[in-house]
Symmetry: C2
Subunit: 213 residues, 2 copies
């Protein structure tokens, strides 16, 4: 599927706002200002206000945004207020790391199963999550009501694993491989690309070293 998502840059910033606001919530103060959030994240206050506006939250001049409602509004906008059941496909180092990543619980993301074709892993548990064989994909996904697959296999297996995932009825894939997956029209793919983050860092480092010379 080729959805052109509006406000993508704003949506990408919302999770860091949420993180800050949740920390602020512990202070007990019922209002938080956009200015305060902006300072905390080195952003412009106007950008924070614009971003928060897309969630539909209404603030109060002079006071700021009501903390409880703001958290609820962001979570609702991100659909993080509903449980999302996901499976890890590829229970290697990265897959295991994601299963153990506690932060996802705060996003409504529950990894409830893992799949691998390594028989020495099948039947075992990783962070209390059961590992199944790839041939059980369809049955387990249906039984456990899984609607999202997180793809963490080595790249040579990426496309074939993807095909199996799609055949099992999954319509959304979070792709951690560097392979551009070929999927039917109605399947959503979000690629998480470590290399592009490193590209930015690498160019920044190169520019800094030039600056000095």
């Amino acid at each position: 599927m080729k959805t052109k998502l509006s406000y993508a840059p704003s949506i990408r910033r919302l999770p860091s706002y949420l993180h800050i606001i949740r920390a602020f919530q512990r202070t007990g103060d019922p209002y938080i200002s956009g200015t305060w959030i902006a300072n905390e994240l080195n952003l412009e206050p106007i950008q924070v206000r614009k971003d928060l506006a897309i969630t539909g939250i209404a603030g109060k001049p002079k006071k700021g945004y009501p903390v409880e409602q703001l958290i609820a509004a962001i979570e609702h906008y991100l659909a993080w207020d509903v449980e999302q059941r996901a499976a890890i496909v590829g229970a290697g180092n990265l897959g295991s790391a994601l299963i153990g990543y506690q932060e996802f619980r705060n996003h409504g993301l529950h990894i409830v199963a893992a799949f691998d074709n390594d028989l020495s892993k099948v039947g075992r548990s990783i962070h209390q999550v059961q590992v199944y064989g790839m041939e059980e994909l369809k049955a387990v996904i249906e039984k456990m009501n899984i609607t999202l697959a997180i793809l963490t296999v080595p790249s040579p297996y990426a496309q074939s694993s993807c095909d199996a995932i799609v055949a099992a009825g999954i319509r959304a894939i979070w792709n951690f491989t560097n392979v551009k997956l070929k999927v039917p029209e109605d399947v959503l793919v979000q690629r998480e690309d470590l290399s592009s983050g490193y590209a930015i860092l690498s160019v920044m480092m190169r520019m800094r070293s030039k600056e000095v010379s």
Copy 2:
């Protein structure tokens, strides 16, 4: 440091171009067209040409770009043609996954040491990379000529580990925690934020389910 990087979106796309071009290189064809790359990645040809232009490469009308030179130009622009020596700080699941991620070798990124404060890990090796105690940070970094730290500790330890990294003389940090690090002016930080990728996916899924109803 607060560098405003020009062409950031283009830079983020360069690694996927490089990946495609390297695969194409195996066909033996000495020229590759921007149109072909665009098709492969579901992009517009004009965008590919504009992106490649920032590397300084010159193509030939009708034929395309010379494959060897194009690869060299992208790698040079990204500074991936020089060896970058890095250390993992936090040798947990994610740290181990990154140490084992072979793709980084293609980017000139060599992870040559790991650090952890878990004594049961210190002295052992992960994928042939030695794990040191946090107290050895400064000594090892100097001895091994390490100039980049990859931060993969649990978030409660993020800021203190960061402080130790900076104290050890490192001036660039690739931050995989969800903590906004406080660093001196001259330290580069690139944050790799899994949550923001998931936010995009989550909103796309919500919108699709609305569409149908």
